[in-house]
Amino acid sequence: MKLSSGTIRLIIPALSLAVLLAAVFYMQPRAMSYTGLNLLFNLAVPIALATVAQMLIMAVNDLDLSMGTFVSFCACVTATFLQASPAIGILIFLGAIAAYAAMGVIIHLRELPSIVVTLGMSFIWGGLAVLMLPSPGGEAPGWARWVMTSRPPFVPMAIVASVVIAVVTHFLIMRSSFGVLIRGVGGNFRSVERAGWSVIRIRAGAYALAGLFAVLSGIALVGLTTSADANIALRYTLLSIAGVILGGGEFVGGKVSPIGAVIGALTLTLAGSFLSFMRISPDWQIGAQGAILIVVLALRLFLNRLEKREKNR
């Protein structure tokens, strides 16, 4: 059977997750249990949501450097307003999503580099978060806490949630018309424009959807940690980009894979646990993550070349 390039692109992330998981089980057989898995993948849900958000932005050939501060901001809103007075909290979230949509429109209209605009936005989100929670605090809304800590039978919540996120986003982005248009804009926006669509509206939609997923990521994060602070998710910017790339997404060309992105997020979460099992000193953990990123990128380049050679033959 001939495999499509999309399937091939999914094999690498799935394989690397499997290998990593096997290595963890080998080193720590006790991890092979309900509680063990729950501990291993505990933080995967918010990371997966943030990765999906970043993936949407990357699908239209942009990059969001404010993802980390924005998720932190959302976490702070969740732990304060959403908990105390849900109506105001929801209004704030709607405003934030609208801001994301506006950002997408402005970047397109003025042909601005998304990196710099989102960089500026990261200051604003960070500032708002500091205003809300100058020091760590707040409290998770009961329902968020309940959802994130519930214990479904057989399979831990983190894995159930990851699967749900993967399936839902797959249908949204890979199967629906809207998803096709978003990816079409990333692939060849002139062609979409020629067919009579409004590229601005599509981009605004993609950005708004990204905002929505980032909001969910913030809520999920607070559900796990029970409190928030302004710096709680700063590393999500890098994690989310790395997750998309690990999952087989590309920086340009609208080539993204939601399932791959979720797998990428799981892999990154697991890599953290793996490194601590390896007894790598905490000093080198960040470095090891950088090294993993480089290795994966190198592997991908190698596979791309292989694929190209195959095609030319």
Binding site: L112, L128, P282, W284, I294
Partner: protein, 314 residues
């Protein structure tokens, strides 16, 4: 460069804003703080300027070129240099040399990743920064080492009322200005920033030029880390933190085109002074860190909205 077009020069605005913020801040304190404020502004702006110049050279190379490894490089350089010098005055020069060499090595590493893995510079420099930061954490273990006394004195004292670090930054700026405006290299990076393909077709060694630029940026970040660690009495792991966004912000606010090809040194000075003064103004008026951040973000976006559109044509 003729002087009739002065008002249209983008860096004028950053200086005008700086003067306004300075006046507003000094007014609040009834004029008592004028001298102290100016000195502090010059000192801290100098660190911004040194990093900003390097970042500006990289940004000049065109869309997508940004060095995110700057903060990690600063931290590692400060840490290693202080460790090596080990409070001995005789090692000051050796320390500086090592920190510059370190910068060169990181710059080569950055460009090697960009070129070999064919990934956007942001991701390459980001991956690099993880490794550099880890090395810094490892190196920083244990005691906080003080800088050699002579060096510490040098970085904290003034000459005719001008902070020594500001003089260093001025000298570096002058060299950078010469490179940018007068040298062949300056022409080349500007050409690459405007159109990489056209630059290649006029015979410019594009890869060589870009490599040198990434090295230059990392080396300047190293020097800044060396000075900053000495100034603040020791290297801290988070000492580079705020410089990631700041180094880009001062370049953008200073009027360098984010789309590449066009850059200016005076603007970086204006923007650096401005960024410091805004913070102290907000502090003086009792605003907290939150407002400061929001205002910074708004300024960046406003500047890029105004400046980015003008030269949007690609």
């Amino acid at each position: 460069m003729n002087f009739f077009s002065l008002p249209s020069k983008p860096w004028i605005w950053s200086f005008a804003a700086t003067v306004i913020v300075w006046i507003v801040t000094v007014l609040f304190t009834g004029g008592a703080s004028a001298f102290g404020l100016s000195q502090a502004a010059l000192t801290f702006a100098s660190f911004y300027v040194i990093v900003g110049i390097g970042q500006m050279f990289v940004i000049t190379l065109g869309p997508g070129n940004i060095d995110l490894s700057v903060p990690a490089t600063m931290t590692l350089s400060g840490t290693l240099a202080l460790k090596l010098m080990d409070v001995q005055d005789s090692m000051i020069v050796v320390g500086l040399l090592v920190s510059v060499l370190l910068g060169i090595a990181i710059g080569i590493g950055n460009y090697a990743l960009i070129k070999l893995l064919r990934i956007p510079p942001i991701i390459a420099t980001l991956s690099m920064s993880f490794i550099v930061q880890s090395t810094a954490i490892w190196a920083n273990r244990g005691l906080r080492i003080k800088p050699p006394e002579v060096l510490a004195n040098f970085t904290t004292s003034t000459l005719f009322g001008i902070p020594n670090v500001a003089i260093v930054a001025l000298i570096l700026s002058a060299v950078a200005w010469l490179l940018l405006e007068k040298s062949i290299y300056g022409r080349w990076i500007s050409a690459i920033g405007q159109s990489m393909f056209a630059a290649r077709m006029t015979g410019i060694p594009v890869d060589g030029t870009r490599l040198v630029t990434y090295i230059l940026c990392a080396a300047l970040a190293s020097i800044c880390g060396y000075l900053l660690a000495s100034f603040s009495g020791g290297a801290a792991l988070n000492m580079g933190g705020e410089y990631l966004l700041l180094s880009i912000a001062v370049v953008v606010i200073g009027g360098t085109a984010v789309a590449g090809g066009n850059s200016n040194i005076p603007g970086i000075w204006g923007a650096s002074l401005f960024m410091f003064l805004v913070v102290s103004m907000l502090n003086t008026y009792g605003f907290g860190a939150g407002f400061r951040l929001i205002l910074t973000g708004l300024i960046i976006i406003a500047v890029i909205l105004v400046a980015g559109g003008r030269q949007a044509g690609r």
